[in-house]
Structure formats: structure tokens, C-alpha cells
């Protein structure tokens, strides 16, 4: 179990063992595991509950289905059938947009579509998951120091701009240009990320408020910057930036198979960043300091660690991770020019990714893939399914993750040995 996660005292004392000793067979242990509020089962039940709530909202908000409920008592089968079809079709189209399109599969088997077409949904999922890995790590790393970094959105926007400027203004060979552009993105994100850390260290300003303010400022700054002649596209009249040079574009991973497969090298860099973050947190001195401060800052201060500089460096490192995510966008899928819309809500989704991944790099990668799939599915399923179903499902999932006691109470689960696992952020 991770160090930043703390355990709540069990709400009630463990019930005395009443049943006589029985031999633990597999089914028994497994059944016990399923009905216990341990972190794996809380995750599973959170997902199920969230999709259930999503289904209810789909039914309530759909006009036709709602109309069938007006005569529910006369012909209940109409309402139930309509609800079932609606929910099935909605979730099926999410699946088809994210994992595998069944129609394409049929035509592939009939020999009418090539293998690349079949991979497209998966490629989209990985494309949307890539920035989420970076922003999830940015939020998760800060979490380990007890800092709640809501500013990944702004840091990502700065990273985008940093990578873009180096990407189109320098004239270098590819082996130098691409790495420098990526690093520029990371540095720009780190610069913005360090601000809430410095403010917290020097004045005690809460990082949640200062990083939200910086998000708004960064978004407005991007709007302004895109309008300047330095960044604005020379060929288009709408608010688009110049394209980055070919020597700074991240190469596609599967484009040899089919040029429309957008997943690119940034995914590999994202995995590398996750491994690096894992190493940083669990093997390095810096990571030890982060965890010590997150676990108990007074104890860390007593042990001689400088709390203020840990806040600053942690936030800068988190900002760098989010900035790399911005570079992945500016040099990858949006290398033809970034707009105010390029950043989507990757930064805010990073919060949900980090919470679902419980601030562990491995968990973050897994949840980034899940939420990337949700996003790819929702974007391909619109307008039949509202695109914000992905935000809604994400928020619902992590609400349950953050409040395991709620899941435990709803489903009458057992308290596991060692208590429930929650994530903590400090108050004012």
C-alpha cells in the first residue's frame, strides 16, 4: 500500500468471530474477498455503481424513453424495453468507439477492411490516454507530498506553448529538434507549476486556489498568444497557431499500417515517464523526501527536511510532467497547429486519473487507459450519446473511490483488515 494513502480507523470494531472454525477453501476466501471493502473491490464496485448511475441518467434525460414511462403502469414492458435498448446502445457505442467496432470486424472478416481500420478505436483510446498519463502523474506526484495540484490544465497549456514555440522557430536536425521541443514543453510546465509551490512555501497560500487561478490565467494567456503575429498561423484566419516543423513532429507508431492511426511516440514517452516517476518516488532521495513530507510534514521538518523547498520542487516536477503532456499534444496530434480547444479537459481529468490510480504510477497508467477509452468512446459516439458522459462517469467513479466508506455502506461490505484506504489533501 502506498505511503501517502492513510488508513481510516474502522468505523466500528471488528465483529467477534461467531462461526466455528472452518477450513479456508478457495471459494470461501474468494467470497470473503468479494464482500470486503479492500482497494481492489472498492475500485470494481465504484466502476459498477458509476455505470449504473450513468445508465439511470441516460434513461431520465432521454425524451423518448421518458415518454414511455408516462404510461409505465399500463404497459411496463415498453418503458423497460426502451430503457434497455437506450442503455445498451449507448454503452455499446462507447465500447465500439474505444475498443473494437463490430461492423468493422464483420467487414474485416469478409475481407473488405484492412487490419489498420480494425485498430482505429484502440489507437484513438491510446491517443486520448497519452496526455492523461502525463497529467495523472502530475497530480499523483504532488499528491504524494500532500499537495493537491489542480493546476495540471494550466501547466499542460504552458507545455503546449513551450513545445510549439521551439517546434516552429528553431531550425535543427530531427535527432536534436524533437528532444529539445519536448524538453521546452516540460520546462514551461515546470515554470508555471512551481508558482503555487513557491506561494505555498513562502506565504502559505493554498495550492488549490492558486493553481485554479493559474489555470484561468493560462487559458486566457493562450487566447491572447494565439492572436499575436508570432504564434498565429500565416495561412489560416481563425485562431490557430503555426504548425511545428516536420523535424519536431512525434512519429506515429502505427502509421505504417494505416496513416489515420494517430497514436504516436508520446505514448512510449508517457510509459517511460510513469516508470521514471515510480523510480523517483520509491528509489530516490527526492522521492523519499516527498513521501515523508506528505506523510507527516512536522516529522519531516524535525528530521531536518526543508518543507518549503520540497513543496516548490515537487510542484515544479509535477508541472514538468503536465508540461510534457502538453508537448505530446503540440508535437503529436495537433502538430498542424494548436487551438484554444486542443487542451480539452486533460488537466482536470488528470485529477480523476490520479485519484483512481491512488497516486501510484502503475495505477495512474491503468486509469489513464480507462479514461482515455471513455473519452475516445464518448467522442466517437456523439451526438447519439452526449459527449460529457465521459466527464460524468469519471467524476462518479472517483467520488466512490475517494469515499470508500460510502461504497461500503451502500453495498454493506466488510471493513478490511487495516481499514479503508483514502487519499488526503491538507486544508487551509
Amino acid at each position: 500500500m502506498s505511503d501517502s494513502t492513510t488508513t481510516e480507523a474502522p468505523a466500528e470494531p471488528p465483529a467477534p468471530v461467531e462461526e466455528p472454525e472452518q477450513k479456508p477453501n478457495f471459494m470461501r476466501v474468494f467470497g470473503r474477498y468479494l464482500t470486503e471493502a479492500n482497494s481492489v473491490m472498492v475500485t470494481v464496485y465504484s466502476l459498477l455503481l458509476a455505470f449504473l448511475i450513468g445508465a439511470i441518467l441516460l434513461i431520465v434525460s432521454d425524451e423518448y424513453t421518458r415518454s414511455t414511462f408516462s404510461y409505465f403502469f399500463a404497459r411496463p414492458q415498453d418503458a423497460l424495453q426502451a430503457s434497455w435498448y437506450l442503455v445498451r446502445d449507448s454503452y455499446l457505442s462507447l465500447f465500439e468507439g474505444a475498443i473494437l467496432n463490430l461492423n468493422t470486424l464483420e467487414s474485416y472478416q469478409a475481407g473488405q477492411a484492412d487490419f489498420g481500420n480494425l485498430l482505429r478505436p484502440l489507437s484513438e483510446t491510446l491517443t486520448y490516454a497519452t496526455p492523461l498519463i502525463f497529467t495523472g502523474l502530475a497530480v499523483g506526484l504532488a499528491f504524494r507530498a500532500g499537495l493537491f495540484n489542480i493546476g495540471a490544465q494550466g501547466q499542460l497549456i504552458f507545455g503546449m506553448m513551450g513545445a510549439l514555440i521551439v517546434g516552429f522557430s528553431l531550425d535543427l536536425p530531427i535527432w536534436l529538434h524533437l528532444p529539445i521541443a519536448i524538453i521546452a514543453g516540460g520546462l514551461a510546465g515546470a515554470a508555471l507549476g512551481a508558482v503555487p509551490g513557491v506561494l505555498k512555501a513562502s506565504t502559505g497560500a493554498h495550492e488549490v486556489i492558486s493553481s485554479i487561478m493559474l489555470n484561468n490565467i493560462a487559458a486566457l494567456f493562450l487566447v491572447w498568444a494565439l492572436g499575436t503575429s508570432f504564434l498565429h498561423s500565416e495561412t489560416k484566419s481563425d485562431l490557430v497557431s503555426k504548425p511545428v516543423d516536420d523535424s519536431a513532429v512525434l512519429p506515429g507508431l502505427l502509421s505504417s499500417l494505416n496513416p489515420s492511426l494517430r497514436v504516436n511516440l508520446a505514448l512510449v514517452i508517457g510509459f517511460a515517464a510513469a516508470v521514471f516517476t515510480w523510480w523517483l518516488l520509491s528509489k530516490s532521495t527526492f522521492g523519499f523526501r516527498i513521501r515523508a513530507v506528505g506523510f507527516n510534514e512536522h516529522a519531516a521538518a524535525t528530521a531536518g527536511m526543508r518543507i518549503g523547498s520540497t513543496y516548490t520542487t515537487t510542484m515544479a516536477a509535477a508541472g514538468a510532467l503536465a508540461g510534457l503532456g502538453g508537448a505530446a499534444l503540440a508535437l503529436g496530434v495537433s502538430s498542424g497547429g494548436i487551438t484554444t480547444n486542443t487542451a480539452l479537459d486533460y488537466g482536470f481529468s488528470g485529477i480523476t486519473v490520479a485519484l483512481l490510480g491512488r497516486a501510484n504510477p502503475g495505477g495512474i497508467v491503468a486509469s489513464a487507459l480507462l479514461f482515455g477509452a471513455l473519452k475516445a468512446g464518448a467522442l466517437s459516439a456523439q451526438p447519439d450519446v452526449p459527449v460529457d458522459i465521459s466527464t460524468l462517469l469519471q467524476a462518479t467513479i472517483v467520488l466512490f473511490i475517494a469515499a470508500p466508506a460510502l461504497v461500503k455502506a451502500i453495498l454493506h461490505l466488510r471493513t478490511p483488515r487495516g481499514g479503508l484506504v483514502t487519499l488526503e489533501a491538507k486544508g487551509w
Binding site: L57, T203, M213, L214, N216, L355, P386, A402, T422, G427
Partner: protein, 420 residues
Amino acid sequence: MAVDTAPALVDDRAPARHARAGTVYAVLGLLLIAAAFTWLGGKTTVIAFDKTLTDASWAAPTFAIVLVLGALCAAAGAWMLVGLPQRRFRLASTVGVAALVLSLLFWAYSQEGTVFRAESILAGALFLSMPYIFGALSGVVCERSGVINIGIEGQFLMGAFTGVLVANITGSIYAGLAGAMIAGSLSTMLLALLATKYQVNQVVVGVILNLLALGFTSFMYDQLKKAEGFNDAFSVPVITWGPLADIPVIGPVLFQQKLFVYAGLVMVAVVWFLLYRTRWGLRTRAVGEHPAAADSMGVNVNRLRYWNVVAAGLLAGFGGAWFTLGNSLAFNKNMTAGLGFVALAVMIVGRWNPLGVLAGALIFGFTTQIARDLSAAGSSVPGEFLQMLPYAVTLVVVAGLIGKAKAPAADGVPYNPGDK
């Protein structure tokens, strides 16, 4: 949560030096004087009373005014450097800040073609401060009892969305307002439950509730967009107080406003009275500072917190309705644009006190109004930077340049009667 030791007794009449603050004010004042000599010679700032006395305007000499104000600011700084009684520090810093702000205003409106339309701007500023007042008051009610409410932004969104929806369905604005308040309190009920019964981390849950509200309202917006008549703009009538509305300056600002303004001002007084003059208020403050002590005196800590948070949701929901019904707008995705967080900053500036909240909200409302007015008048500063102003001011304010604010001691700490 450990209780801080009692503050040492300080003689507030003994003179004390404030080197850092004094230097800042003195330097800024001198910079203003230098700026006046460099750029402002011969310029004028036109002030107009545009609603009552339509043809009266005053062309003020910018140079002289900025010079005087700059000198005033520098003098405040010098006083701090020399040393002043502790109880006069607030006076000196207020004079310094006011002189700075006023001189920047005179400067900003000294440009050719810009007119400071005093009545429209002040009336607009008061109206724009309303979401901050409701949001921050909601925060005060929560946090004085020890529950951190980061979710004001989400409650705004719920109120804004539900207000318009209910007004469309029933055809009545007042039903819409009631709906907004109920939606606000339903969304805080979740926070209340999680914060008291399940004792989760309030900051984390607050942020998630914001995302949930954003996802929920955006999702419903898209779904309801398919049908007609769920999201049409409704507007709250302007209340004009007969002849009182014709008094210069005061009339348009105070006696010709929408319902929201009067409700906001009344709520400031009501919350202040409830907090400081009633039994409920005493208990709330006790629970926020030292829940174990309150518990030992027979106060049910978690029940009080629960109902405080739910009541705070009514306020935040009403503030949410300002965005749609108050501005005669239909709902749009994420239309609150982070103002819920600005409201939190207002609460901190106001030091968790309703009267302080009023002052803070007015400052923020004024800043927003000036930014809008200047960008409409075609200022040389890009509009995006003017739009950044409220956020930048928030950043400066929470960074504590105004002074260190102290939160209620038990703010954000779940109370479990078992582990006293």
C-alpha cells in the same frame, strides 16, 4: 487538531516599524509620482453621471490627482517605516491601497475617448459582486462550523442549471430561484454526508463534486438541447424605488437593481447577525474552533455541521441562479468559469466574516466591472489581460499580501466523537 496557544498580549499603542510593507507602499507611491511626471502631463479624466444627470460631466486634471494620490501612498509607506501604533496599521494600509487603486483608475481612464461613467460602473460593480457574496457567505457558513467547501463552483453550476430549467418548466422565475436553491443544497448534502458521517477528506471530495457538477450539468445540457423549451433565458425584473432612484450616484447604484442585489445585501446582514448574535452562531463558531469542547457542552457536532453545510448550499444555489436568471442568460456549459473559486478567495480575504466578505466581494466586483468596461472602451491593454484581473487579484490576495488570514482552527478536520 491541536489548539494554538493564546496570542501574546500586545500593547497596540506602542509604535512599531513595518519595514517590508512600508518599503512597498513608499516605492509604489514614488513610482506613481514619477509616472505622473513622465506620462500624464496635461491629460484629463472625464467622469460622467450617465444615468441621472445625463449632460453633466467633470474633466478632472489627471496629473494633479495622481500626484496627490501618489504622495498620499508614499506618506503611508513612510509612516510605516518610521513606526506607527499597531492599531493604526490598518488605517495606513487602507489609505495606501485606496490611493493606489484610485490613481490607477484615473490613469486608466485618462486615455482619449474613455469616459468614467460613474453610475453605470458602480451599479454594475455592485451587481457583479453578488456571486462572490453568495458563494463566500456559503463558504463562511460551512467553514465556521469546520467543513471546507471547495465545491462552491459546482453548487453554482447546479444552481445556474436548475434555476433556468425549473423556470422554463413552471414559467415562473421565483419557482426557478427556489429550484436553484434546492439544487444547491442537494449537492452540498452529499458533501455534508461525506464530511460528517463518512469522514472523508473534504478538499478531495469538494474538487470531485465540482467535476461531478460540471459533468452532470454539461451532460443534461446536451440531452435537453434536443428538445425545445428547457433552456430559454428568463430575466429577473429590475426593482426601481420610485423617486429614490433619481438621486445622483446613490439612486442608480442602490435603488434601481435586481432582486439579487437586495437579497445579497440582506443575507450579509442576516448571516452576520446569526453568527454573532444567536445561539446557533455561538455553537457554529465553537464547533469550528474546538469541536471536542463544544461536544462536551452538549452540542451534537456532526449534526450541526451537516445542517450548516446543507443550509450553505441554499445560499450557493441562489448565487448560481445569478449566472442565468440574474443575467437573463440561458445555461451554458461551465458558464461559471471558476468564479466559485474566486468566491473562496473572497471568503479568505473577508476572514470568514460576513462583513469582510461584503468588502472583499465589492472589491472583486469592482475589478471585474472595470476590466469589462475598459475592454469595451477599447483599452490599449489586450482584453484577455483585463479578463485575467480578477484571477490575478485572487492570486495576490491568497498569497497574503493583505495580511495573514487565520482559518477556524478545526476547519477541514473530521470530528469523530470517539477519539477526543
